[in-house]
């Protein structure tokens, strides 16, 4: 059954943390709430869990109004950032606790704990206390404790943030596999846009208590609703060039002594003309050693090698700055005079004041 959040508002005193959140979470999907710290994503998750109550608004699970139910009555399970394993209970007791509280027969508890422990490969840890486990093992136990209850909704609050970089990549894939296997609707909170992109069916990008865009990862990446989403999703982050002039299907960049260079737009900006914020991803820039039509002359100021690719910081015009991501073997050195080629199909134009994506109307 679909979960619907209708006009959720939340304020702590005078501070409004969530403003009119309207979301539909389709059944069996993996939905990620992503945004910078303080954007309200964890508060929204806690409202879903029932640990906070919304100041206004309703949550529906199918036809059931769940926003009035206590956390324990909602039958949703949550994995906390700190895992919150009960320190005085061993792994088995930690996993069994929710079932025990609900009065599940002993034999069934044992069977379900064992089944989940097998899936998560933590059978050998069942007798241990949380303090005897590594970070990754605690993570699995926390997941196991949530899975054992077979809830209709999983809530995961930055569950990978306490793991080291390598383990995080492994667990990311494992979480995704688990979700494919269990097919339980999952809401995942993270500030890491890469986690959001790689794991989700749908992403809700949040900022200042507002959902800026709610769409599939590809949509969010390729057609960002506004400059915030464009800048937040993607790594390295999108380049923004302020003061680009849009007129007659062209965008003109002020390149200082090199004059104005016009680039034909592949996507129409819905008849917009005037000053705009130009956005272009580092992957969509070409660094050329020879001039070309519509290419912007620039100077490479810094090269950073990141394995198979390198990041080239470029200066153009009087104060223009761009970062391009090119192949590691590209012949460009710091201090080189280069030309930057733009792919007209991959340009984004935003309204300077609101940040709205002009191509989306």
């Amino acid at each position: 059954m679909t979960i619907r959040l209708e006009h959720i508002w939340k304020s702590f005193g005078a501070v409004e943390v969530l403003k009119d959140i309207d979301l539909e979470l389709p059944e069996r999907q993996f939905i990620t709430l992503v945004g910078p710290s303080g954007c309200g994503k964890t508060t929204l998750l806690r409202i879903l869990a029932g640990l906070e109550s919304a100041t206004r608004g309703v949550i529906w699970h199918g036809d059931t109004r769940v926003s009035d139910l206590a956390p324990g009555k909602r039958d949703v399970a949550m994995v906390f950032q700190s895992y919150a394993l009960y320190p005085h209970m061993n792994v088995r007791a930690n996993m069994a606790y929710g079932l025990k509280v609900r009065g599940t027969p002993r034999a069934e508890i044992d069977a379900r704990v064992l089944e989940v422990a097998r899936v998560l490969e933590i059978e050998h840890l069942l007798g241990r206390k949380p303090r005897e486990l590594s970070g990754g093992q605690r993570q699995r136990v926390a997941l196991g404790r949530a899975m054992v209850r077979k809830p209709w909704l999983f809530l995961l609050d930055e569950p990978l943030s306490n793991l080291d970089a390598k383990l995080r990549v492994t667990m990311r894939a494992e979480l995704k596999r688990l979700h494919m296997r269990l097919e339980t609707t999952t809401v995942y909170v993270t500030h890491d846009q890469l986690e959001a992109m790689t794991m989700s069916d749908r992403i809700a990008v949040m900022d200042h208590g507002v959902v800026q865009q709610y769409a599939t990862p590809a949509e969010v990446y390729n057609r960002p609703a506004n400059a915030f989403v464009a800048g937040f999703i993607g790594s390295p982050p999108m380049n923004f060039v302020p003061g680009a002039a849009v007129a007659g299907g062209e965008v003109a960049l002020d390149c200082g002594p090199d004059g104005r260079i016009a680039i034909a737009l592949a996507r129409r900006a819905h008849g917009f003309s005037g000053a705009a914020l130009l956005g272009v991803r580092p992957q969509d820039l070409e660094v050329l050693s020879e001039p070309r039509a519509s290419a912007v002359p620039a100077t490479a100021t810094l090269i950073q090698l990141v394995g198979s690719e390198k990041l080239v910081d470029l200066a153009f015009g009087t104060a223009g700055r761009l970062t391009a991501q090119v192949k590691a073997d590209a012949a460009v050195e710091a201090g080189n005079r280069v030309w930057v080629g733009f792919d007209p199909a991959r340009l984004h134009l935003f309204e300077p004041a609101s940040g709205r994506n002009l191509a989306l109307g």
């Binding site: 206590a70 956390p71 005085h88 509280v101 404790r145």
Partner: protein, 295 residues
């Protein structure tokens, strides 16, 4: 090890040895005297080791045998009353355990309340309670005596139990308040998500996590009530209702002081606390440590 380092260690151990001796000597002397026969107690020169060790004093205390002393040519019964020793001991046990149980029950709930619920004044309650603890007992004892008189509780063990609660409760609450604050709230939230009620969360999750703090608070409370002299001296006026501390004083008597009985009582009085201390030492350190650092 360098010669300087070795010297430093030797000096350190010497200092420790002296300090240990100073602390332990009265205890050793009490133990030694309690094992001496009456004629050896006041012997000159005094001897640390009893020449003929005997358990007579302990036997007299436990059996409550009437004591006599020699005056002129006859034996006169002493007014010292070993026959009450067992009831004093029992009184001390009952009052200490009773006041500790009440203190721990109330302070645990109170400390949980001020750390987890939001209401006016919850921030100042712990500090206020500590303030109460800072007032010397001598200032509390007379107003409390008047209260006990009004309640018709004087000369009963209840007066002592409540009196001790008035000292130990504030401190226990303050200690546990610091302790509860160090328990992550996520643990309770996780249990609530698991379907547990607030009470169940408290019993299943909070109490076990706070166990070191609760043990520390309980030991503190036991020691305070076990060792109290002042309240018992003021509140109790019949000899059979006394706790050990004041009861033992009756071995001092106008004409005669029975040092052997006194020292045997002192040893028996110290023993339960010493054993408890040894058993619980680990928890005590953890409890005070957590309260001090994380609180």
């Amino acid at each position: 090890m360098s010669p300087l380092g070795a010297l430093r260690q030797v000096v350190a151990y010497l200092v420790l040895l002296v300090v240990t001796f100073v602390i332990c000597f009265p205890l050793l002397w009490a133990l030694s005297t309690s094992l001496k026969a009456p004629k050896d107690v006041m012997a000159t020169p005094p001897r640390l080791l009893p020449p003929q060790p005997t358990l007579e004093n302990y036997r007299n205390l436990v059996t409550g045998k009437q004591q006599y002393f020699r005056a002129d040519q006859s034996y006169v019964p002493t007014t010292a009353a070993p026959q009450h020793f067992t009831s004093w001991f029992a009184n001390s046990v009952v009052v200490s355990l009773g006041s500790t149980a009440i203190s721990i029950l109330i302070s645990t709930l109170a400390a949980y309340s001020v750390t987890r619920f939001r209401y006016w004044g919850r921030r100042i309650v712990p500090y206020f309670s500590l303030l109460g603890y800072m007032v010397p007992s001598i200032i509390l004892v007379f107003p409390l005596f008047l209260v006990m008189t009004e309640l018709r509780l004087t000369n009963s063990l209840w007066s002592l139990t409540f009196g001790y609660v008035s000292i130990t409760l504030p401190f226990c609450m303050w200690l546990l308040w610091a302790f509860f604050r160090s328990i992550p709230i996520e643990l309770e939230e996780a249990a609530m998500m698991d379907g547990a009620s607030r009470l169940r969360v408290f019993i299943d999750i909070v109490l076990p996590s706070a166990a070191p703090g609760i043990i520390a608070a309980a030991i503190f409370s036991l020691i305070v009530s076990w060792n109290d002299f002042l309240f018992a001296r003021v509140f109790i006026n019949s000899i059979e209702n006394l706790p050990l501390t004041v009861g033992v004083m009756h071995f001092f008597e106008g004409t005669h002081v029975d040092w052997g009985l006194m020292m045997a009582s002192a040893v028996l009085m110290t023993l339960p606390m010493a054993i408890l201390f040894m058993l619980m030492q680990r928890h005590l350190v953890a409890g005070f440590g957590a309260g001090a650092v994380k609180g």
